[in-house]
């Protein structure tokens, strides 16, 4: 049983999961945000009859195993032949929904082969199973989408590791890809490779102007859209989406980090390069030109984070604070380690229940499963459930700005080592 606005998602998912024969009964949309009395009216006589007959098969076909598709997928899989020139081919890619709406580079054999030379392994080896389409992503598939995104060949190992990272169970790729939330895939690159391939970890690193930053994030999005099946409006049900869904990638500024680099704090070696994927909202700026002490600055950061409508407050997960180097220095000079920052923000980034209406509080506590801690947390519901979930990383150039990236909540970021050829 599904609301009408999500019937196409249910149908597509059942088809991709080879469960197309499962009956779906629609009810009027929406179900949330209406009164209990109105919600009850969604169960009409037709809905009751539909469910009853679906359970018994009465009035339905006998639903034997039925073939899906026309069997032609294998015939044209892999390569495409398009009449005309490259401009015609690119138009065809747009028409088929294979782009992000911006022009792409045509993935010709020469370009894709050049990209594959930067990684080891059989091009047809699967890197992971991408949900919701339940499709195997091979090195070849990733290389094709990387070429389309405009990547140089040496960027490919980063993208492969990022796709591997999305396979972590706690990353919850299925939910991330199909949610109504507006999360993009934030890709953070750590270690020597970020310098080798010329990534930007300084001024405007989350903005425009650097080819590696721009195209690595874009390639990850294209892989998840084209191979993973997160087609906007179809299986990707984001209510609004976000500019972060075009590309969202930066490198850690290790030179300006007053603490251990992010990856070594996670247990990776300093000489190893890594990539982290985060299902995150676009960055929310934190401006503080006035604070000269760590205590004052951390208060600004905590109060910026303490908002009612973000997903972390609902369900937890980890959340990302990107400290600008000058803010990081002020905090470190105040005697704070990274763990100290995490602890303070865990304690201070809280929302008092008095700021939340009863029906919203009921939703929050139900989703978050913390109804029985409301008395304990009366003075403030923590943004995250443990200090360790308050991730802290340093990036950017000069200036008194930092950024907070709330996440999807029902997700945890994942970090993988990058294997260079």
């Amino acid at each position: 049983m599904v609301t009408a606005m999500f019937a196409d998602l249910a149908g597509s998912l059942l088809k991709e999961r080879h469960e197309a024969s499962l009956p779906v009964v629609q009810v009027a949309h929406p179900v949330g945000g209406i009164s209990v009395t109105e919600a009850r009216t969604r169960i009409t006589d037709a809905v009751v009859r539909g469910v009853a007959s679906s359970l018994t098969g009465e009035g339905a076909s006998s639903s034997p195993g039925t073939p899906e598709g026309d069997g032609s997928a294998g015939a044209d899989a892999g390569r495409i032949l398009i009449e005309g020139g490259e401009a015609d081919a690119l138009e065809e890619f747009h028409q088929r929904g294979w782009t992000d709406g911006l022009p792409v580079v045509l993935p010709t054999e020469d370009r894709v082969k050049a990209a594959l030379r930067s990684v080891s392994g059989n091009p047809l080896d699967p890197i992971g199973c991408l949900l919701p389409r339940n499709a195997a992503a091979t090195l070849l598939d990733i290389a094709i989408n990387a070429v389309m995104a405009g990547c140089r060949p040496e960027f490919l190992p980063v993208i492969v590791a990022a796709i591997e990272a999305t396979q972590e169970a706690d990353f919850n790729l299925y939910g991330v890809q199909t949610t109504t939330h507006n999360c993009g895939i934030l890709v953070i690159v750590h270690g020597p490779i970020s310098r080798t391939i010329g990534m930007n970890s300084g001024h405007n690193c989350l903005g425009n102007g650097n080819r590696a930053n721009a195209t690595i994030g874009r390639a990850v999005r294209l892989v998840l859209q084209n191979v993973g099946g997160a087609t906007p409006g179809e299986l990707d049900k984001a209510t609004l989406g976000s500019p972060a869904k075009f590309t969202y990638c930066f490198a850690e500024n290790e030179e300006k980090t007053p603490w251990l680099p992010f990856r070594t704090a996670l247990g990776f070696k300093a000489e190893e390069s890594c990539v982290t994927v985060v299902a995150a909202e676009a960055p929310h700026n934190i401006n503080d030109h006035g604070s000269s002490t760590a205590a004052s600055l951390l208060n600004t950061i905590a109060q910026t984070m303490a908002t009612v409508g973000n997903n972390n407050l609902y369900v937890g997960g980890d959340t990302y604070l990107i400290l600008g180097p000058e803010h990081a220095r002020t905090i470190a000079d105040g005697g704070f380690s990274r763990e100290g920052v995490q602890q303070v923000l865990y304690e201070r980034a809280r929302v008092a229940t008095a700021r939340i209406t009863p029906e919203k509080l009921a939703e929050l506590s139900s989703w978050g499963g913390y109804e029985n801690r409301l008395e304990e947390w009366k003075e403030g519901i923590p943004l995250v459930r443990t200090p360790g979930d308050m991730r802290v990383i340093v990036a950017g150039g000069s200036g008194k700005h930092s950024a907070w990236c709330p996440t999807f909540g029902a997700t945890r970021s994942a970090t993988r080592r990058i294997h260079e050829r």
Binding site: M1, T3, F6, A10, H18, E19, S21, V27, H29, P30, V31, G32, A39, R40, I43, V47, V48, A52, L55, T56, G57, A60, S63, G65, T66, P67, E68, G69, G71, A73, G74, D76, A77, R79, I80, L81, I82, E83, G84, D88, A89, F93, W98, P107, T108, E109, A135, L140, D141, I144, N145, G175, N226, V315, E363, S366, W367, G369, G409, A410
Partner: protein
């Protein structure tokens, strides 16, 4: 092998396998059956399923068992699915928003 007048390129979507849809297991009749009801946990899905179960019980002698998924954005845990499988003859899922 190139063909004059044509552009050759790779498709970016991988290979989608043609497969067989799994058959659906139907009940012969609803009478005396235990029907599970599992919502995705979003607001009012419990209202939806409780109303549906009440209406079904008016028409059929069924036993309704209600289950709850904690977080809408996460798949139901294996233990919960196993419990539903062990205790119910059929299950109705509700995805609301």
């Amino acid at each position: 092998m190139t063909k004059p007048g044509f552009v050759h390129a790779y498709m970016p979507v991988g290979v989608s396998e043609t497969g067989m849809s799994h058959p659906v297991h139907r009940l012969e009749a609803l009478s005396g059956k235990r029907i599970g009801f599992l919502g995705n946990g979003k607001p009012n899905t419990d209202v939806l399923l409780e109303t549906l179960a009440a209406e079904l019980k008016k028409q059929f002698p069924i036993e309704a068992l209600h289950f709850r998924k904690q977080i809408p954005s996460l798949a139901a845990p294996d233990e919960l699915i196993a419990e539903i499988r062990d205790r119910c003859d059929a299950v109705v899922l509700a995805v609301g928003d």
